[in-house]
């Protein structure tokens, strides 16, 4: 590498950092708060609805609310609306369960052109896969810690 000008050029990287546009954090936070809050409010509204009108409670109630929210996320993805919401809201529409639905449905739609087995089925969890893996792994870890604490004390 000595005779080559190709090396990590810290001066250049610092310069690039100084001229690159920054994400407007305040604006992103406000948008994420508003949209994320709205999605959660819809979820809470559904919860009240199922609780008082249908009379559900406990785990059943939670499952119903999640199912409807997942359906809404998937439906809006299919209509091509969710990516626009996401462009505006950033993390605000990624974090709620609707974002999870979006991350499963969007590759499923996209890779339909490669067939149902190698396309839809194989690529469906391209984005959601890591979330599931780390979700399961961390829940096991937390479970072990909880078990340890419970047995010691």
């Amino acid at each position: 590498m000595e005779n080559n000008q190709n090396f990590i050029n810290d001066n250049y990287l610092n310069y690039v950092k100084s001229v690159s546009p920054k994400t407007n954090e305040k604006r992103s936070l406000i948008r994420a708060f508003l949209v994320g809050g709205l999605i959660c409010s819809i979820g809470q509204g559904l919860r009240y609805m199922f609780q008082y009108l249908v009379g559900l409670e406990g785990d059943e109630l939670a499952a119903y609310v999640s199912a409807v929210m997942i359906f809404l996320g998937a439906f809006l993805t299919g209509l091509g609306v969710y990516d626009r919401i996401g462009k505006f809201a950033g993390g605000g529409s990624i974090v709620p369960i609707t974002g999870f639905a979006n991350s499963v449905v969007s590759p499923a739609i996209e890779f339909k052109t490669e067939g149902y087995v190698y396309g839809v089925a194989a690529k469906m969890f391209v984005i959601a896969g890591p979330i599931i893996v780390f979700g399961v792994a961390s829940s096991v870890l937390v479970g072990l810690i909880y078990y340890g604490i419970y047995n010691i004390f």
Binding site: Q5, N6, V16, S20, G86, K87, G99, N102, S106
Partner: protein
């Protein structure tokens, strides 16, 4: 020496360009030969759409040059997709030789450099050079599904849906007089969203080498055009070249920065292998033919990464080839 002169100055005798909906509505939309409102071009997949675009411009450029396929000795083409399938599958439909080339978004001037050399040396009579890119096919290969709700960082660019091709031969038209072959330059940028910053050092290296080896200064050209550095990358290039003692701020344009209306809305502007070919074939070639421009330096810029290389933590090497075209 990386700069060489074409003794017989081969001509660009026919061009053709095609653009998608966003490009046709863009700043240069009126110059694009085939404007489409449908980004699938009537095809079932975006890869097939890209192939159709490239096929169409190759076919049309041959017609626009008043030639038939029998007159074409070779097609030199490339694109961004794995195994350059758009180029290869378009060439499948032509009864002509085929050379597939890849230098990412710098493929167009790479093809011009090679094509002009083959014609200049008298080895081949007429050669078609073309490249294409498609936003949706590039997006799924390099980034995320289209419908995924994620935000783009402000330094990101938008892949151009478009293609351009030109026929190089002997005859009436803008002439290719010299070329500078680029070097792979890597200053260690790892941000895959900041292609402008990754490619600018390579562009600066090619420009500097071109000026040094030809003894020319920037004002020798009516306009110096880079491929797809975008607004940020253009600024960085101007700065880098300035540090080497050349001022290009007065006569410098970037295809990516000029392709969309209100480029700011697409953050840094357009990118992609089809960006420089579409803009050159649609706009600059016309300007040359109408003698509004007499001498231009076209320098497509490429970021030579793959999705694997960046996942393995590699930085992004850049490349740029410059071609001098005059009337």
């Amino acid at each position: 020496m990386r700069t060489f002169y074409y003794k017989n100055k081969p001509s660009i005798i026919g061009v053709s360009s095609v653009g998608g909906p966003k490009e046709s509505a863009g700043e240069l939309g009126e110059y694009i030969e085939i404007k489409s409102n449908d980004d699938t071009f009537g095809e079932k997949t975006f890869e097939k759409a890209e192939k159709k675009m490239l096929y169409t411009v190759i076919d049309n450029s041959i017609k626009n040059a008043n030639k038939g396929i029998d007159d074409i000795d070779a097609i030199i083409a490339g694109d961004l997709l794995d195994q350059i399938i758009s180029a290869t599958f378009s060439a499948r439909s032509f009864d002509a030789g085929y050379l597939g080339v890849y230098n990412a978004c710098a493929t167009f001037t790479e093809a011009l450099t090679i094509g002009a050399a083959l014609v200049d040396g008298g080895y081949l009579k007429n050669v078609v050079c073309g490249t294409s890119s498609h936003f949706s096919s590039a997006e799924r290969q390099y980034r995320y599904p289209l419908e995924l709700g994620c935000t783009r960082p402000p330094q990101a660019q938008w892949t151009v849906t478009g293609a351009g091709a030109c026929v190089i031969g002997q005859g009436e038209g803008a002439k290719i007089s010299c070329a500078t072959v680029g070097r792979v330059v890597d200053f260690g940028v790892v941000d895959v969203n900041n292609m402008g910053a990754a490619m600018a050092p390579a562009a600066a290296d090619t420009l500097y080498t071109h000026f040094k080896e030809t003894g020319k200064t920037p004002d020798y050209y009516d306009v110096i055009i880079s491929g797809d550095l975008g607004i940020l990358g253009s600024r960085i290039l101007t700065d880098l070249v300035w540090q080497k003692g050349y001022d290009i701020s007065k006569n410098y344009l970037d295809c990516g920065a000029m392709v969309y209306k209100n480029a700011k809305k697409e953050y840094q502007g357009g990118s992609g292998a089809g960006c420089s070919s579409m803009v050159f074939c649609a706009y600059f070639y016309k300007m040359l033919r109408e003698k509004k421009l007499k001498r231009i330096l076209l320098m497509s810029t490429g970021a030579l990464l793959s999705s694997l290389s960046s996942q393995q933590g590699e930085s992004i090497p850049g490349i740029a080839h410059a071609v001098c075209i005059e009337i």
